[in-house]
Amino acid sequence: MKKFKEKLSGRIFFIFALSSISVLALITVFIIVKGAPIIAKVGFFNFVFGMKWSPSQGEFGIFPMIIGSVSVTLGAAALGVPIGICCSIFLAEFAPAKMREFFRPAIQLLAGIPSVVYGFWGLLFIVPFIRNFFGGPGLSILAGAIILAIMTLPTIISISEVSLLALPRQYKEGALALGLNHWQTIWSVLLPAAKSGIVAAVILGIGRAVGETMAVIMVLGNAVAVPLSILDPVRTLTTNIGIEMGYASGEHQQALFATGIVLFVIIMLLNSFAQYITRKR
């Protein structure tokens, strides 16, 4: 009887564990089944590199959106990565214990703010700021990049900080005993040694930026065109789905699912790259 109970509880936990995996499998199958036909019909090359997106006329080219996603994400990385890494160095190496106790939960809180709030804030403050100081419509790559940079900070900071703190104490002491000063120790010993963790942090942060939808819908302007400057409005893969899914049907809907496939692949690649790098350690 006891043995039976043991076995039963094991099974029950297994079923619950399966449920989370099976949702992943279901979603994957679902978007592939829904989206693959349109890719097959239009042709993979025409779909991914097509310049024209006009579903009512049967034109399904998502290249402007890919450019949009890439440019906003790169912009976010250019702003967020240096700030994030410097912040993690500060927390791991310079901050007094009291300050660290304040900073850490504050940064975690940043991760807890709903993305629509970020978008709303961006629309009310950042967009007008850009319009007034740099010109253009304000709704732009730059606005999206700023919002996403802020949203990726918690990921980048906490993972880089953990990887800096996880370094053996001997690295630091060995370097200091050589007569290096604190900054030389950080730059030439600690950062190289924590490199894999920091790179993983950056990639996970970028993954978050690529997938973000709600915040950027509100500040990007959503024009389907290849942008010429960072002050131009763009549409990303995610916002394309978010905006049009509500009224799309037929081939149009299929094309949105196909957009989802492309997004899915990009994020999978980024995440597995991050996993590969952390494991190599």
Binding site: Y171, E173, G174, L176, A177, L178, G179, A193
Partner: protein, 254 residues
Amino acid sequence: MVQNASKISVSGLNFYYQKKQAIFDLNLKIHANSILSVFGPANSGITTLLRSFNRLCDLTPGAHMEGQILLDGKNIYAPDIIVTELRRKVGMVFDVPTPLPMSIFDNIAYGPRLSGMKSKKLLFQSVEEALKMAALWEDVKDRLSMPAASLSGGQQQRLCIARVLALKPEVILLDRPCSGLDPISTAKIEESLSHLKEKFTIVIAPHNVQQAGRISDRAAFMLMGHLIEEGPARAVFANPQDQRTNDYITGRFG
């Protein structure tokens, strides 16, 4: 350099970690160009003493000290002392080898580069010289560009010694440098230490009494933060003045 001049002189040293006292009223003179073994059971304050000589214990939060440590007659805790310069003068080798995450060559060239040596030729010379002094040159001369982490434990430890030597220090502190090493690597390190004392002052925390007996000119026995006895090594080991030293050496405790 005058033989037997005192290189480091410690007087009235009390050391605390927060409220816990680790070293009690310690007075010690360390002679130049000799090997001093500071030995004793774990938790006797030996590591703390060594780390106070190059101010590495400044890093521990809540640590503070009273008393004086003079290097060549100059207080190393004086406000005008530049700590990074002090640490280059008083090099340290740890119980766990600490190669930096870079190549063998760069590990050793790092110190000289920092002090402004740019010429490739000079750098190579000082790397070669340091590796030869640490008895590692023959092992690694064909693979200087390999990562230092690819060396064996014993080689890594000799690399750390070479790295300290390349800084042209005056004093070398070794904190149980052979504790994780096999007897052959240990013998190699002891062998190179006996040559090095001609140029440097060496303070070593040996990992056992036998090692202390093999290599030292003078020996100091510490117990629970107190310096029990210090003197010429032969005298301390053959004819200890204090009962506790005798008990420890003969293996009655520790």
